[in-house]
């Protein structure tokens, strides 16, 4: 019963949502409003799950003194200090919480993504060395699109921005459209599997 009741809930409510999509009745609209109110009340508790998970993972590392456990202390200290700063001094501009965001979180996350510029360049070089026709086409398209976005492209040739626009509007559109159709069919199939109780991995292990 520990698995069957949740399955009954998701199948029943899932089909009610299918019906809601096709029946524009007040009862259907009220059902959706009720769900939205309730799901918003449920959702903040999911964050507590993430916090618990982080504390359990890093707490265990610290307790067992595993190699590099000191970094777990930094992670947990950063979490506690930032959260406390938000609760004590508020989250508006000019508070220690926003100082941490502007001078710690934002520079680090931006740099982390900027690092990828170097690794993407290295990946492009490896793709170029692969010397396959497909990899070459990919790289040529990428170079044209990149040059088409900056003034350098127009300085090299007036055709580069036009070629870039054409790539984006024609072959890229065809690829995105076909992939979008595939993704849509995939979402539908997965949703149906959940609705019909075929896909049950979200229930987790155990009884």
């Amino acid at each position: 019963m520990k698995r069957q009741i949740p399955l009954i809930i998701i199948i029943t409510m899932g089909f009610m949502f299918v019906a809601h999509s096709f029946i524009p009745h007040k009862v259907s609209a009220d059902f959706f409003d009720w769900f939205q109110d309730w799901v918003k009340a449920v959702s903040p508790f999911a964050v507590s799950l993430g916090i618990m998970s982080l504390f359990m993972v890093h707490g265990t590392k610290i307790k067992r003194k595993v190699p590099n456990w000191q970094y777990s202390v930094i992670t947990l200290s950063g979490l506690i200090f930032t959260a406390l700063a938000g609760f004590i001094w508020g989250t508006h501009v000019g508070t220690p919480y926003m100082w941490l965001f502007e001078n710690v979180q934002m520079p680090m996350s931006a740099t982390m993504f900027a690092l990828l510029a170097f690794y993407i360049a290295s990946a492009a070089y490896k793709a170029f060395r692969a010397r396959s026709a497909e990899a070459t086409v990919l790289l040529i398209a990428a170079v044209i699109v990149m040059l088409g976005q900056v003034p350098l492209g127009a300085m090299i040739s007036k055709w580069i921005p036009e070629a870039s626009t054409w790539i984006l509007n024609v072959p890229n559109l065809a690829a995105k459209r076909a992939i979008m159709i595939g993704v849509g069919l995939g979402i539908t199939a997965t949703s149906l599997k959940i609705l019909l109780g075929i896909e049950r991995t979200y229930l987790g292990g155990g009884d």
């Binding site: 009610m16 710690v104 086409v137």
Partner: protein, 199 residues
């Protein structure tokens, strides 16, 4: 003075992360661990202020809508996820939130399949519309694995691969530009805001 200290902290953390380009080192590990903690710590007060207070606290304690106690209790069942004996209780808030998949069946069919198909079925009035049509069909055929990709069918699906490679190249180019833009932003910060070399 305060701004100088703030810039110094941001510059130190920026350089700590860039140090990974040389190799994994304690400065990078320190910045990485701090980023995880601060990012999570940043989210907690935001969720509390923007979700918990308006949708849990205010309805129950200010508007006296005591019915909201039920979803609040349902949400608190998430805590049992790590319990060996009571872990099954966490399934209830999960299935409650996941039941929205019922809506995603007609919605994904409409927005991702039907709308895209309708856009693909425009009159072929030029070379570009013909290329878009051929590209869409050949890529879809490439993802049809019930027939072996051999002979004429293999050649047709090969055309789909070429279209996809151009599409991936365009996405790759855009991603590179976005990352380089971020890199320029960080270098501008280091050379301008921090060192004052660039105005």
């Amino acid at each position: 003075m305060f701004e100088t200290i703030s810039n110094f902290v941001a510059a130190f953390l920026t350089l700590s992360i860039f140090s990974f380009l040389y190799k994994d080192n304690p400065f990078y590990k320190f910045a990485e661990a701090l980023l995880v903690g601060v990012s999570m710590g940043y989210a907690i007060p935001l969720v509390y202020e923007n979700v918990f207070l308006p949708y849990v606290y205010s309805p129950i304690f200010l508007s006296h809508k005591f019915i909201i106690i039920i979803p609040a209790l349902l949400g608190s069942l998430y805590m049992f996820r790590f319990s060996k004996n009571l872990g099954w209780l966490a399934r209830y808030p999960i299935v409650f939130g996941l039941s929205i998949v019922g809506m995603s069946v007609p919605m994904s069919i409409h927005s991702s399949v039907l709308v895209q198909m309708r856009s693909a079925m425009l009159p072929i009035d030029g070379i570009n519309t013909a290329l878009i049509f051929i590209g869409t069909i050949t890529i879809l055929l490439y993802f049809f694995f019930s027939k072996a990709h051999k002979g004429i069918y293999g050649k047709v699906t090969n055309v789909g691969i070429w279209f996809m490679m151009i599409g991936f190249g365009a996405s790759f180019g855009y991603t590179v530009m976005a990352r380089v833009s971020l890199l320029i932003g960080r270098i501008q910060f280091l050379l301008g805001d921090w060192l004052g070399l660039v105005k």
